[in-house]
Symmetry: D2
C-alpha cells in the first residue's frame, strides 16, 4: 500500500515536510517525517500543522485507494487534531487506522508518536467519498 | 501586528507554504498563501493541511504576542478544521478572530476564503496559555 | 420558523431539557433552556452535554426544514463543542447560524450565551443532507 | 469505580437520560442508556446529544475521581462527537478510555456501540484539570 500511495500523484505539502510512507496494511497505514527546522515552529517544537498535513495526506490517499475502483473520489471533510506533548527531535511517527468505512464517509483515527513511543497528538479525520464527476 | 508576528522567530512550515502576514488588529489577524503546486494535493486542490498550518501559525503567534509580556507561553492545544469548498488557484486568504481570551486558554475562529470571497474552510483553534518555565 | 421546528415531531432529549424555540430567521435560529437542577452537573454548573443537545436539536431541525421539500433528510454528522465559561443560573441562550449550505452537508455555528450576554460555549455542527430513502 | 462515580452528586442530564454505570477499571469506564422515546429525536433514532451527555458525564466524573485527591477540579473543555450509524433500539453502550493524563488536561476517547457491537459514534473529550479554588 505504501508504494501505491506515493504513486497517487504530486502531494505538494506532503513533499515539503518530507513524508515517508512505511509498511502498511488495510487496517493500519504508517508514515513518518524526520524532525528538522523545516517542520519546527518558532519555539523549537514540531509545528502542529505538520500533524494535520500528515493525517490529511495519509487518510485521503488511503481512502482514495480503497474507493477509486468503484469510480469514487475521496476528499478531506474535517481534520480534528488534539496536541498532547511536543516533539522536538527524531521523527514524527504517524499511524492511521480506519474506524468507519461508510458509503459517503470514512472516519480515521491517527496517532502521532515520538521515537520513544509516547503519544504526542491524536487526529480524527473525516474523508468524504463521492462519485467521480 | 503583522510585523511583530514575523519577528517571532523561524516558523518552518509557515515559510514552506509561503505565509504572508497582512494588516491586522487585535481582533482580526489576516494572512494569505499564494496557490502553487507546493500547496496542492494530488487532485490539484489546496491540501487541507495547509489551512491547518496557517491557523496554527497565526493563532499561536498572535496569542503569544498578547501574553508573553506577562511571562506566559502560548501553544496550540487543538486545531479543528472543516472543509467546505476546494480552492484551486489564486490565494488562500485567512482571517483569524479571537473568540475567548481566557487565563489558560484562548479560542480563535479562522475563516479561509478564496479570492472571490467564498468561505472554503472554517477552523477552530484552542491555544493553551501557560506560565513560561 | 420557531413554530415549524416544534411541529417536526417528538424530540425526546430536547423536551427533557425544556428547549424553547424563539423568534428565528433563515440566518439565525434562537432557542433557550431555563437553568434548573435538571440541566446541572454535580458541581452546580450547566452540563456540557446540554449545549450539545441544544445544538443538535436546533441545527438538525432547521436544516431539515430547509431541505425536506426537495425530498431530503437531515441528520447530525458531527457536533464539536468548546466550553469557555460555566453557566450556573438564568438561561442557556443559543443562537445558531448556518455557515455553509451544501448539497450534501450543512455547517452551523452555534453560540451559547448566558443572560449577561457572555459567550459560554461555541459549537460547530455538521449536518448531513441525504436523499430520503 | 462505577459506585464512586454515582456518589459524586446529582448529575441532572445524566439522570434525565437514565445513564447506568457499569463495571469499570482505571483504563476503561463503561455506562449505558436504554433506548426509549426519551432519548430519540423526531425521526426515531437516538439523538446525537445523548452521546455527548454520556461522554461528558463519564469523562468528567472519572477524571475528577482520579485528581480530586490532589485538590484538583475536573471540567469538560471540549466534546467532539462524530456520528457513524444511527441507533434505534436496545441500548446505547459507551466505553471511555483515557488517552492522556496530563497535569492540566485529560483526553478521553469514547466509543458508542449498539447492542450488536457496531460502532455508532466516536467522541473525543478534553477535560481540563485545575486547582480547586
Amino acid at each position: 500500500m505504501a508504494e501505491e500511495i506515493q504513486s497517487l500523484g504530486h502531494d505538494g505539502p506532503g513533499e515539503l515536510i518530507g513524508i515517508e510512507y512505511q509498511e502498511s496494511t488495510d487496517n493500519e497505514v504508517r508514515a513518518r517525517v524526520e524532525v528538522s527546522d523545516a517542520v519546527r515552529q518558532p519555539f523549537g517544537i514540531v509545528h502542529g500543522g505538520v500533524y494535520a498535513v500528515m493525517a490529511e495526506s495519509i487518510c485521503s490517499a488511503a481512502t482514495w485507494q480503497a474507493v477509486h475502483h468503484e469510480g469514487k473520489l475521496a476528499m478531506g471533510q474535517s481534520n480534528n487534531a488534539t496536541f498532547l506533548r511536543p516533539i522536538t527531535e527524531g521523527h514524527v511517527n504517524a499511524v492511521a487506522r480506519p474506524r468507519h468505512r461508510g458509503r459517503t464517509t470514512w472516519i480515521w483515527d491517527v496517532e502521532i508518536n515520538d521515537d520513544q513511543g509516547r503519544t504526542c497528538a491524536l487526529i480524527r479525520m473525516t474523508v468524504a467519498v463521492r462519485p467521480s464527476p
